[in-house]
Amino acid sequence: MTRLTINNQNYELPLKGHETLLEVLRDHLGLTGTKTACEEAECGACTVMINGQAVLSCIVLACDAEGDQILTIEGLSSGEKLDPVQEAFLEKGAVQCGFCTPGMIMSAKALLDNNPAPTDEEIKNAIDGNICRCAGYLKIQEAIRYAGELMQEKPQGHKDIL
């Protein structure tokens, strides 16, 4: 049996060894928020976080992730309460078809958890492995910047109303 910790929940799975983490998430556990697209580590749609870092689940053997802390898009929100990165993507209109969005958000979250005030260059580097065919990236970058502001609880351009 393989023990995986995903979104702070422990799972014991009868894996054979050849399953990728992406297959386990989607096919075994029904966590379909992480998307299957190229399956060749090129598009970023399958991005999840392992131990705080953004990785491509289509090239991770699930057995190899035993003992790691795995975070998927489903693990960001808490009930109805969205993660600031999710809020920012919605508020800034950074979603069109939405297919790249889970992967984009996970890459953004990995960046912002370590650096909530990234430069534009750092934002571009953080999502350089996530392809979007719809949105043209500007809104996505704006959303990531805004998410950082939300995380710092001091959004620029906002005034406190006392």
Binding site: H18, E40, Q53, I59, L61, S107
Partner: protein, 278 residues
Amino acid sequence: MLLNPLTHHSPVTLPEACRIKVSLERSEILAGGTFLINRLKLLKKKGLQTPLNIISLKKVAGLSGIYAKEGVVIIKALTTIRQILDSKLIALHLPVLKDISSKIGTSQIRNMATVGGNLTCRYPWTEMPAVMIALGAKLHFSTERQEQLVSAEDFFKNEARSPGILESVSIPLVSNQRASYVRCKKTLHLDIPLLAACVTAEIKAGRFQNTRVTINRGTAFPVCLEEMESLLNGQPAQHRVIEHALAQMNPKTFDASTDDYKIHMYKVSVRQALTDII
């Protein structure tokens, strides 16, 4: 099912990993997985034979980290490209490694890919080999019975055939050594380089000393341009010397099997790298 059935092994020591490797048929080593897993998918798609056993090094203690000891920087084989990028030691002593690490793959790939994998994957176009040769690095391999030390130059002359499991890379620190890495990409968007050049040298009394010029040929393993090195060493570190040396080079020394454009770009890259260090 993306991959053919296989058995996943998780040894906790390097000797155990070596023992498993020699005792099992059709076994491969798994480091970061950024090359191996895609290769397994491709082999399956083409209906070709795939490994029956994957030996993951993830749980083997002591295979990750960067430190300096007695004038040498040691990079353990499972150190990720991200760790090299973030390392203050590398930024201080071997900035050329930080430079090329920033060019490897994408953000996610850099989080997963390892130095060991980049050196031993046997894809000739990867970034680390040319730089490690130019830096005079040595590769430390472990086998079931012993350790083996191979210079990076000899390792790639032997077409990157690993005598065991790579444990670490050691790079001598040379005071006043300058280094530059210049790569030429096929397209702006494709990450794999068409070719690259890495140059290291000391400039003493305004002259080239201990110059190493290594080229990454993309389609074959990197080589040192010994002829170029001989033409530079002892000469003034000046543009006219660089141009004279390039003009003396037999174009086929760069790459016997290629066309005028690529030969031209080899010279452009070597010229740029040499110019960077003077």
